[in-house]
Amino acid sequence: MNHILVYCEISEEKQIAEVSLELCSKARKLADTLSCQVEALAIGNGIKDVEDVLYAHGADIVSIVNHKKLEFYQTLPHFDIVSKVIEEERPDIVLFGATSIGRDLAPRIASYLRCGLTADCTELMIGDHTDAKTGKTYNNILYQIRPAFGGNIIATIVSPESKPQMATVREGVMKKETYDNRRGTVRHLDAEKYISDNDFCIEMLNRQIESRKVNLKGASIIVAGGYGMKNKENFALLHEFADVIGAEVGATRAAVDAGFAEGERQIGQTGLTVRPKLYIACGISGAVQHRVGMDQSSMIISINTDPKAPINEIADYTITGDVMEVIPKMIKCYKSNIK
C-alpha cells in the first residue's frame, strides 16, 4: 500500500492554509485505515518551520519546495512539480483543497495523469467495491462522496482503476484535528529539477489579496437568508437582526445568484461549511447542497412560511410565518429580555 499525498496551500503569511491542515487531519484517518503514511507537499518561496504543525495534524513526511520564482501560486510551475512528484512517488490517494488554487491545479494534473478526480467531496471513506459489469472486486479504495445534480442526490464516486485516486474538498468540510506526540521527516526537494522557463509564460501584472471581510467560519451565531427573502431590501433586515444579536449573515446559493448577498456569504456545497452554535435559517427551503454546509450546527431555527419546507426536518425549532414579520418580533423580544 502506497501513501496519501496532501497538496498544501500556503497563506500570505507563509503558513500552511487551514484547508490543508483539515485535509491532513482527514488523510491521517484514512491512512490509519490503510496502514500507510501521509505526505504533505508545500510549494513556495521561503517556507520554513511548517513541519511541526503538519506533524501535529497528521503528516508523517513533509516535502518542501522553495524557489524564488515560486513566491505566488501559478498554475504551470505547480502543475509540473506536483505531477512529477506523483509520477516519482506513486501515491495511492492525492487530496487538494477545493479552493481557487486546488480547483485550478487538480483537474490539470488529473488530465495529465489520466486519473479520476472528484470535486467538492463532503465525505471521504475507505471501502471495497465490486464492479457491477465485470464482477471484479477492489479492496480498500477511496469512496468520494458528494451531492450531485443540483443536490437532489448524494453520489458515492469511486475510481477503482485509477492511480492515484484524487479528490478536492472545500474548506471547513473536514474537521481539523491535532494528534499528540507525532514526529516525522522533512524533505527538501530541488525546484530546478521540476520547473522550466516556459512555466512562467503568464505574466502577473497586479495582485490584490483582500483579507476576508466576512467571518462566517468564526461566527458562533449565523443568520442566513435564502431565495424566500424575495429581494435585497428584505435581506437588509437580516443584517440588522445579526447586528443586534451579534451574529454574522450567511446566504444560500440561490440568494447569492439572485444578488441578495455577496458570494463570500454563501453557505453550502459550493460555498462555506459552517458549524455555529446557532443557525437561524430565514426563508430557506433547505436543498441538500445548502444543508451539507450547515447541518452540523448545534442548534437550528427555521423561519419559513411553508410548514413543509425540507429545512424544518433538521431544525430544532420551526417558526411558521413570514420572516419580515417574525424577525422584528425576535429583535423586540431579544431587546426586552436582555438586560
Partner: protein
C-alpha cells in the same frame, strides 16, 4: 482543418436547470425525471461567449465558433449563440460519448479542437450547474498543451498577440497577461451576455444541423449554405477519437451508489409567529447562553 485568421472557440454546455428543481423532477422510483427539467444554456458559458464576442469586437477578422458536446438537441445553444453574435458552431454528438466523466469529456473536446488551425483563444465557463466540478476547462487546456487562466472576470485588454484579464480568486484578484494560444475559464461575476440581436435572429432562425434537418424531413443538401453550414455535427469518427478514451470506458470515475436525499428527522418544536411564542424562544436562547 478549419482555418481562420484569428480563431476563437467557446466551449458551452446545455444543462438541465437544476436551480429550479420542483417536486416532479424526481420520479417515484427515485431516479431523475429529466423530461421535467427545462434545459438551458449553462450560465457561466453564456458569460464566456460574451467575453469571446468582446475579443471579436476588438480584433478584426476574428471568428467565434461555439463547440458543445451533447445530444443533437444541443444545437439549440448553438443557435442561441448565433443570435447573440457567434459565427458558427459544432455539436459533438455520438452514443460513444455517453457516460463520459470530465476526463473523457475533455478528451473529446480537445480532440475536436485539434481540427482547428490557428486557435488563439479558447473560452469556457468556469463550471456547469449540473455538476459544478470546474474541471473540464483546465483538463481541456492540458490536453491541448495550452496555458490556462481560470476564473476570468474582466477582459482588460486584447491585441493581435496578447490578452490581459482580471481573475477573481477566493481572497482577491489578479491581473495577468498572456500570449496565445490560451484557454480561459470565465467566472460567474463576469459581464452578462449581450441580448439577442433581432437581425441575427431573423437570419439564423432556420439554421439547422443535419439531425434537425432529418427530423423535419428536409434534404440538407437542398438548403442554402447560410442555413446548412452554420451548425455542424461531428461524431467520434469525425474527430478521430480513440474509442477507449471516450464515454464510460474512458471515464476513470464511476458512480458506485446514488442515494436520494432523505432527511433524518430530529425532534422539532414548531412555533407560531405570535409574539408570545417568540418571546418564550428568545428567553430560552438567552437563558441557555446561546445568544446574549
Amino acid at each position: 482543418m478549419i482555418t481562420s485568421k484569428f480563431q476563437i472557440l467557446v466551449l458551452a454546455k446545455q444543462v438541465p436547470d437544476t436551480r429550479n428543481v420542483e417536486k416532479d423532477a424526481m420520479k417515484e422510483d427515485g431516479t431523475i425525471n429529466r423530461a421535467a427539467l427545462p434545459t438551458i444554456f449553462n450560465p457561466d458559458d453564456l458569460k464566456a461567449l460574451e467575453m469571446a464576442l468582446e475579443v471579436k469586437d476588438r480584433i478584426q477578422g476574428a471568428r467565434v465558433t461555439v463547440v458543445t458536446m451533447g445530444p443533437a438537441r444541443a444545437a439549440d445553444i448553438i443557435r442561441e449563440s448565433l443570435y447573440r453574435g457567434a459565427d458558427d458552431g459544432i455539436v459533438i454528438s455520438d452514443r460513444k460519448f455517453a457516460g463520459s466523466d470530465t476526463l473523457a469529456t475533455s478528451y473529446a473536446l480537445a480532440t475536436a479542437l485539434k481540427k482547428f488551425d490557428n486557435i488563439k483563444l479558447v473560452f469556457s465557463g468556469r463550471q456547469a450547474i449540473d455538476g459544478d466540478t470546474a474541471q473540464v476547462g483546465p483538463q481541456t487546456a492540458e490536453k491541448l498543451n495550452m496555458p490556462q487562466i481560470t476564473y476570468c472576470e474582466t477582459l482588460e485588454e486584447v491585441t493581435e498577440d496578447s490578452i490581459v484579464v482580471k481573475r477573481r480568486l477566493d481572497n482577491g484578484c489578479e491581473t495577468v497577461k498572456s500570449h496565445f494560444p490560451l484557454l480561459l475559464t470565465v467566472h460567474g461575476n463576469a459581464a452578462d451576455c449581450r441580448p439577442r440581436n433581432a437581425v441575427r435572429v431573423i437570419s439564423n432562425k432556420k439554421v439547422c444541423s443535419l439531425s434537425e434537418a432529418k427530423e423535419r424531413n428536409l434534404d440538407i443538401n437542398s438548403l442554402p449554405d447560410n442555413i446548412r453550414t452554420k451548425i455542424q455535427e461531428w461524431t467520434a469518427d469525425d474527430i478521430n477519437a480513440d474509442p477507449s478514451r471516450l464515454g464510460f470506458a474512458g471515464s476513470p470515475t464511476k458512480v458506485k451508489n446514488i442515494e436520494n436525499v432523505v432527511l433524518s428527522k430530529k425532534e422539532n418544536i414548531t412555533l407560531t409567529d405570535n409574539e408570545n411564542d417568540i418571546d418564550i424562544l428568545m428567553k430560552e436562547l438567552i437563558k441557555s447562553h446561546i445568544i446574549g
